[in-house]
């Protein structure tokens, strides 16, 4: 599902049920199954045969939901958080820096909630492979179960393993190593061991605190990694509002001006799912489109420390 789009929903497929932009869930479609939520009862039989991206009505026409195709980006929004997870900006930047493409072999530790794992698998499929390691047993089990359910076992191998104590158990196979560990510096030697030496190997360490970066950079330097570079990547969301911006002449003439926010957009958003009703109220034509950053934003995720391991011998 995650590295091969389909057009129609079939029995047994995974479907992302979209209620609104911050409320989604996944269901595995099964004949005669059903989904209940505040918008009504949705029968799986009504889903089967529909195109992905369709809107379906609840059993008694009370409400509706959208049926979406699973993708790593949507999975990041619905994945059960067993740990802090990686979000799209970091995932995207790291994937580019590590030059992930079909055919690449990647090592990830720890697996965490598997948000990044799904994205890596999507990017390196069908010929690449992800070896992912998680030292927390219950998390490892949950992730393993998800990889099976998501048909990723040909791309992803998960192992419950303490890589700080025992290394990755592989030598010279990885194009890239990704570390998301509290003490990444202790995994640098093992990472070096796991990386290919016949071409440029790449490593990324993901750490929230600057002290972790400082120690990791020293360890990378000591182990012969080069071009140690560190970044942060975030995104800022914008909203738009349509507002009147009347000339001050109106105030000089003593007119009353209505500055009320046009609530259309907010209504529109609410109507993405839920009760059926009308939404096509037109804007007043004296309004101006203004954008501003959404009030609250993510201020930090982690520092991304990168380095390369140059090939063993320059011929």
């Amino acid at each position: 599902m995650f590295h091969q789009y389909k057009t129609f929903i079939e029995n047994g497929d995974l479907v992302v049920i979209y209620l609104n932009y911050d409320s989604m869930l996944t269901v595995r479609v099964a004949t005669d199954g059903s989904l209940n939520n505040k918008y009504g009862t949705f029968r799986h039989n009504d889903m089967i045969g529909q195109k992905y991206g369709s809107k379906i009505q609840s059993q008694y026409g009370k409400g509706f939901v959208y049926l979406l195709h699973p993708t790593p980006a949507l999975w990041t929004q619905v994945v059960p958080h067993r740990t802090q997870i990686l979000y799209l900006p970091d995932i995207s930047f790291i994937s580019s820096y590590l030059d992930l493409r079909p055919g690449k072999v990647v090592i990830e530790s720890g697996t965490g909630s598997g948000s990044f794992s799904h994205s890596i698998a999507r990017t390196i499929a069908p010929t690449g492979h992800l070896h992912t390691f998680e030292y927390h047993e219950i998390r490892a089990e949950k992730a393993r179960k998800e990889f099976v359910e998501h048909n990723l076992t040909d791309i992803v191998t998960i192992e419950h393993r303490d890589v700080l104590a025992n290394g990755f158990g592989v030598t010279g196979i990885a194009d890239a190593v990704f570390l998301d560990l509290p003490a990444p510096w202790d995994a640098v030697a093992s990472a070096k061991e796991a990386l290919r030496r016949d071409t440029v190997g790449r490593i990324c360490s993901f750490s929230p605190c600057i002290e972790q970066v400082q120690r990791t950079a020293l360890a990378l330097d000591e182990h012969g990694f080069a071009d140690i570079r560190m970044y942060e990547c975030l995104v800022r969301d914008y909203e738009i509002r349509s507002l009147p911006l009347p000339s001050i002449d109106e105030a000089i003439d003593g007119q009353k001006v209505n500055f009320k926010l046009n609530k259309n957009d907010r209504k529109k958003r609410k109507l993405e799912s839920g009760a059926n009703s009308l939404t096509s109220q037109e804007d007043g034509n004296s309004e101006v489109m203004l954008s501003k950053p959404v009030d609250n934003a993510r201020g930090h995720t982690s520092y991304l420390t990168f380095a390369i391991l140059a090939p063993a011998a320059a011929s």
Partner: protein, 399 residues
């Protein structure tokens, strides 16, 4: 389980390579055996010398244009707290070598008769203030001189990361100012994967299309719609793509969007010349290609629509949305937020899209050195904006 080896282990003849110089300047060169590669004041080397050598190492240019692996120094331990020492008075007169002597050393260095290391040693030995400097200042001084005199370079692969970084720094207008973090988000948001079919508009000379192609394998396809008669996807030629990868790209002029393909009916007179026949062949191939491309477009159900355009974004999207599949992503890039607002408003008011988002990426690089860790003092002003949305399937008529 070990996958096909993708990465170039060594520089091959005919490859494009990014050469990064000590000044942190860079250039893209095509490595042809008989050429000399000139790095200006950093000297010249024989391209043939680099063929077969590994990427990622630092090479120093030696006498006669040969190159040798150079050992990098690790972190130094200069202490920032000494950075501002009381006694030092900046004075160009503390250098005992004359301007002419230094110029002479430079000339000898370019000819390969003296190494950068030797120059820097001369400079420090003849600088009266050098010994009075703190370790921090010494380290800064040497680094500055190395950037000036070291005839070394690092060859980098023309990966999407490196190529986008190169053009963003040296010619951002060419790629419509898209920064690598933003480009990476385009790839993620569009859910690009090995065998996706992607419809793309890239008025930024193919930087976006190169990124899409780099994530393709067998079964994957990119259809680029361009203005003018022929596409200008110049960036692609730097990517060292295999013929198989290049074959995943089709392109179509906007002017052919509504074109009706008639059967190819050109007949040659009986005594046609070889030239005439070759011409007909060419036109027939062109006809077949156009026909195939239009068939592909009109099959629709594309897995993503990715747009970076100089035209009105809303007008472009309106034209191409019919070809995008359900539950597939629309992703539009622009340098200016204002260029996306009309499309943003239209998408939000439309009933055919979910999760309409306008985002700006923010990227920050740091210097990480013992005792001297801080964000870089200069940075790019912005990396662009992305408007994205999930496209819904049209309501089905059959129920």
């Amino acid at each position: 389980m070990i996958a096909e080896r993708l990465d170039p282990a060594v520089v091959k003849s005919g490859d494009h390579v990014i050469i990064r110089m000590p000044s942190t300047n860079a250039k893209i060169v095509c490595i042809k055996p008989d050429n000399m590669v000139s790095l200006g004041k950093f000297g010249s080397f024989k391209a043939s010398e680099l063929i077969g050598k590994a990427f990622g190492h630092t090479y120093e240019i030696e006498k006669g244009g040969s190159i040798a692996t150079h050992t990098l120094a690790g972190f130094d331990n200069a202490d920032i707290t000494e950075a501002n020492n009381q006694g030092i008075v900046d004075n160009p007169l503390s250098q005992k070598m004359t301007f002419e002597e230094i110029e002479h050393l430079k000339t000898m260095s370019l000819a390969g008769d003296v190494s950068a290391k030797e120059i820097i040693q001369s400079l420090t030995e003849n600088n009266e203030a050098f010994d009075k400097k703190t370790e921090f200042s010494k380290s800064k001084y040497i680094l500055r001189k190395q950037r000036k005199f070291m005839k070394s370079f690092v060859p980098l692969e023309t990966s999407v990361f490196n190529v986008c970084g190169y053009f963003f720094e040296f010619n951002p207008g060419k790629i419509r100012g898209i920064r690598i973090d933003t480009l990476s988000q385009v790839l993620s948001l569009a859910n690009v994967y090995s065998c996706a079919r992607i419809l793309a508009v890239d008025d930024g000379q193919g930087m976006v299309i190169s990124a899409l192609l780099s994530r393709m394998a067998e079964g994957g396809q990119v259809l680029g719609i361009h203005d003018g008669d022929v596409s200008n996807y110049d960036v692609i030629r730097y990517m060292n793509f295999s013929p198989a990868t290049k074959s995943r790209l089709q392109s179509l002029s906007w002017s052919k969007l509504h074109h009706n393909v008639e059967p190819f009916t050109e007949h040659l007179p009986e005594n046609a010349s070889a030239d005439d026949m070759a011409g007909r062949e060419r036109r027939m191939r062109g006809h077949a290609k156009l026909s195939e491309t239009l068939d592909n477009l009109r099959r629709g159900e594309f897995d993503a629509l990715v747009v970076s355009t100089n035209y009105n974004a809303k007008s472009v999207v309106e034209k191409l949305i019919p070809y995008l599949g359900g539950s597939r992503m629309l992703v539009i890039y622009d340098q200016s937020k204002e260029a996306l607002l009309e499309a943003f408003d239209w998408l939000r008011k439309s009933q055919s899209f979910l999760n309409v988002q306008l985002t700006e990426s923010w990227l920050r690089e740091y210097q990480v050195l013992p005792g001297r860790t801080h964000p870089t003092m200069t940075t790019s002003g912005g990396g662009g904006f992305i408007l994205s949305a999930i496209h819904l399937a049209p309501a089905q008529q059959d129920c």
